[in-house]
Symmetry: C2
Subunit: 321 residues, 2 copies
């Protein structure tokens, strides 16, 4: 399927960082986009944000000439979604705010519209309690920024229909994303839980004085980061287990792995720890403003994505939804 | 400095997978290498292993013509290290075996030789108790395979001298590696602890049926893996915190991060879990033998390393030893 035919008109609710990134991606894929945000300076903010990400969209190989020609702004939510094929909501991360938005959207949007929330923390089940047709709502959680990072976690609520999940998968795939449909609703979904697990040990090691933040970052980029960009943790251990692969690894090194878990740190982000982490961050990252560092990181990441696409480490994307 | 002048003669103790990889790297950087391994088929194994990794060495841009011209084999340990400038030990991961090896090496090797063990699990402090000059021994722990992954963790024992640490840093840097000197001896060092922390949550999510192994791997390669290949966890959160960077992130999202830690899984690798992980591995990775999958992964990783080198995400490697 083709996003520009099946989903021609998108409504983006909320013009913050995530909303801007989705808007840029949708526009670059030829969709008409209505942004709805009640803030008086929303249009100005969104246009400025789009200008900022346009170079990255271009580096990704997307057409960016007249990017905003099919963009409009409509503060009234019901008006904004009235003829949408897809609604991507990026409102405040508060349950009541989400419910109120979605009650309005459900009433005003066409029956065929795909209804997706970018929430990183509120279960679709809880939001959908406010809806007449809870089977229509799904979490489409991007890994920030959505225009750049391939992953979109599609997370069903208890009542989300298989049809909605399939539609969401088709939609994000057509945008060049790599969606994954989770089999269960779980707090933090998958990517953020993994990030949280790793970060806990990072905080422990820095708090214990084993390494500085900058040293730890270098260790990650020079080892596991490189590995996991090419092959995930299971595949990595499969390839590290010799000809017997992961089964061999689990049988022979599983006990040592399990034992290592009991030795992992359980730090807290108390005042002293936050002060230490803050001081090290100021030293490690002071040399350049965040936006410039981020732009350089993003350029490097695009170069990496291109290299990966050209060398295709996997025979076929078996895991894709 | 230049490895081929300061460290011209290397002794590699143990001709297993790690020993072979170090041997290939040393040879490709112009060192004379003596491999010492008491197994009768050691020479055959090492030569076969070197042939297997030669294409990767070539793709890394290293000279591989006549790679084995400066390679010899000497089963007798004392003979093997007699005129070594550096000894890299990859013997059995048992304390007594390491102590016996190093007692012999210390007596037989020149006084100026750098003495490094590849151990991933035994503290230099414990091994060095067998030595007259414990300040000379250091852990030089590669992330497998050493000829490919940039990281080498240099881990001091309690008595390792600053001079030894500096020499180890110079040696691995001259081989094109990215060594990191840890500030403290800690079980599992840094990279394996981080890997263990992430893998624990991976096992939890698969055991709970949230995702399959293949789906989890795809989530990682399409999000955090990509990120961490370019910027480590602290830098990633620094860039995710807006203009206020990591300090802002810690102040505003620290409590939510800390709360998320309490919700992480604490799985065990019991029989049922190992059976589930094994069954999924057979399904996910059955299509191709491990060596072919590994070779493809390695090619992809080399492509990625080249792309990163060309785009240089960081202004200077501040964290390097």
């Amino acid at each position: 399927m083709n996003a520009s035919t099946a989903y021609r008109r998108a409504a983006v609710i909320g013009g913050g960082v995530i909303g801007i990134s989705w808007t840029g991606l949708f526009l670059a894929h030829g969709l008409d986009v209505v942004v709805s945000d009640p803030r008086p300076d929303a249009e100005e903010q969104v246009r400025a944000g789009l200008e900022e990400i346009t170079p990255a969209l271009a580096e990704l190989g997307l057409p960016t000439a007249d990017l905003t020609a099919r963009l409009r702004f409509e503060p009234d939510l019901a008006e904004a979604v009235a003829d949408a094929d897809v609604v991507q909501e990026n409102g405040p991360e508060r349950l009541e705010a989400k419910r109120e938005i979605w009650r309005t959207v459900e009433q005003a949007a066409p029956d065929h519209a795909l209804l997706a929330t970018s929430t990183s923390g509120i279960p679709a089940t809880a939001i959908a309690e406010a809806l007449r047709a809870p089977e229509r709502l799904v979490v489409g959680h991007p890994f920030n920024p959505p225009h750049l990072v391939p992953l979109v976690e599609i997370v069903p609520g208890e009542k989300t229909s298989a049809r909605t999940l399939a539609q969401a998968g088709d939609f994000y795939t057509a945008l060049g994303k790599k969606p994954q449909i989770l089999r269960k609703e779980v707090p933090g979904f998958v990517a953020n839980r993994l990030q949280s697990a790793l970060f806990r040990e990072c905080v422990h090691l820095v708090a214990e004085g084993v390494v500085t933040e900058a040293e730890l970052d270098a260790i990650v980029t020079d080892s596991i980061g490189l590995r996991w960009a090419v092959a995930g943790p299971f595949r990595t251990f499969h390839l590290g287990g010799g000809p017997g692969g992961l089964p061999h690894f689990l049988r022979h090194l599983g006990p040592a792995m399990e034992a290592s878990w009991t030795g992992l740190g359980t730090p807290s982000l108390d005042e002293a720890t936050v002060a230490l982490l803050t001081a090290q961050a100021r030293e490690a990252f002071a040399e350049e403003p965040v936006p410039e560092l981020a732009a350089r990181r993003d350029r490097a990441q695009i170069a990496l994505m291109r290299a990966l696409a050209a060398s295709s480490p996997e025979p076929a994307d078996k895991a894709a939804a």
